[in-house]
């Protein structure tokens, strides 16, 4: 990921795009790419989505969209000075305190029994 971070930074510098790369603009670009990812998956059944990488046509498109999402997330973190892995680990530790294994296992199997980990 460090190599990707540096290459994306160079990519932006070479094209004189740094002025466009505010956190606000990059967050919008990230959301736009996530929207394209959703578009690839939106009409699939759960089973079709689970097997999407075996589809010759849609699999590579999904991988490319995830590549785009990663590019903008890496760039956003670089601009903000955030270590992505550490931010994820810190948030996961926080979520672990809020959604304990016991509570999750004991929850009734009702609609929406998976809490949003936010």
């Amino acid at each position: 990921m460090e190599e990707l971070t540096e290459r994306v930074r160079a990519f932006a510098q070479e094209r004189n795009w740094e002025r466009f790369h505010t956190p606000k603009n990059l967050a919008m670009a990230l959301a736009g790419e996530v929207g394209e990812l959703l578009a690839e998956l939106q009409w699939l059944t759960p089973e079709q989505s689970a097997a999407v990488m075996t589809d010759e046509e849609i699999g590579p498109r999904v991988r490319a969209e995830i590549g785009d999402v990663t590019i903008y997330l890496v760039r956003l973190a670089d601009v903000l000075g955030i270590d992505l892995a550490q931010a994820g680990l810190d948030k996961l530790a926080d979520s672990g305190r809020r959604y304990t294994v016991e509570a999750a296992r004991n929850s009734a199997a009702k609609i929406g029994d998976h809490p949003t980990a936010s």
Copy 2:
């Protein structure tokens, strides 16, 4: 990022959440977290967004949202069997062929002169 991938996987396994983690559901969760990130930045000026990490209140919230986004992206890639960094590098190489440095530098400074790298 490998450590994060493994910890998120264990987190889901321990809570018996694997049945929820289809690519389709995880892409929605990713989009939901990106939406929360947008909500933190939406009313800021470009200048305020550039300095957002120096704000004692909003900075930590932005970092936490980016942590959430990273968690779901890592989990989605794990479920799909995709190497995030490699997917990003491949897409960046593709974008480099489409948006050459020469073309980017020569483009007139008109509205929308930054092509969407998608």
Copy 3:
């Protein structure tokens, strides 16, 4: 919808929020609210999502999120001077020319046989 448009406009004026309501900021706010809507639906099966309005807890939340999405879409259209219904009708006519009934009915029932109407 006209009444809603006028009330949202008055709501913003009374609070002196017009300076925040650029098309860019409103599009971000719209995306943020759609993200909250996704969060309500993300872990549901297709069948659970089809019955979501009968759930006493999630149903009202879904309706409230759709209310928020509508508020920001109406406000964005007001700021841009766009008639929402007419924009939808024009786009639907365009989509009808691109995805004819014959082509849709004859398409093989393969993965992704529903084209993205974009």
Copy 4:
């Protein structure tokens, strides 16, 4: 909007797409179209975004994306049995109780002084 609702319903019926149109799938499609809208606005300055409808190239694209967003929102509301205007009016009344005119006008002009109306 009623005419649009009926036409979108007929559009889906004629193409045998009703089986795809679960609330979950339609919410994803809505998010995908909002993502395309963001992509049109993401690199613009606030001033450029305010004048976007006067741009001969981007203006019609923004209108078309808003048409797509409206189509999916109207379809989602139809499937859920929700009256969009009433859902918006109800949510606006709720927001009015939470963000009073007095509180909004008295808030200090600090970063993020526009509360998220969610």
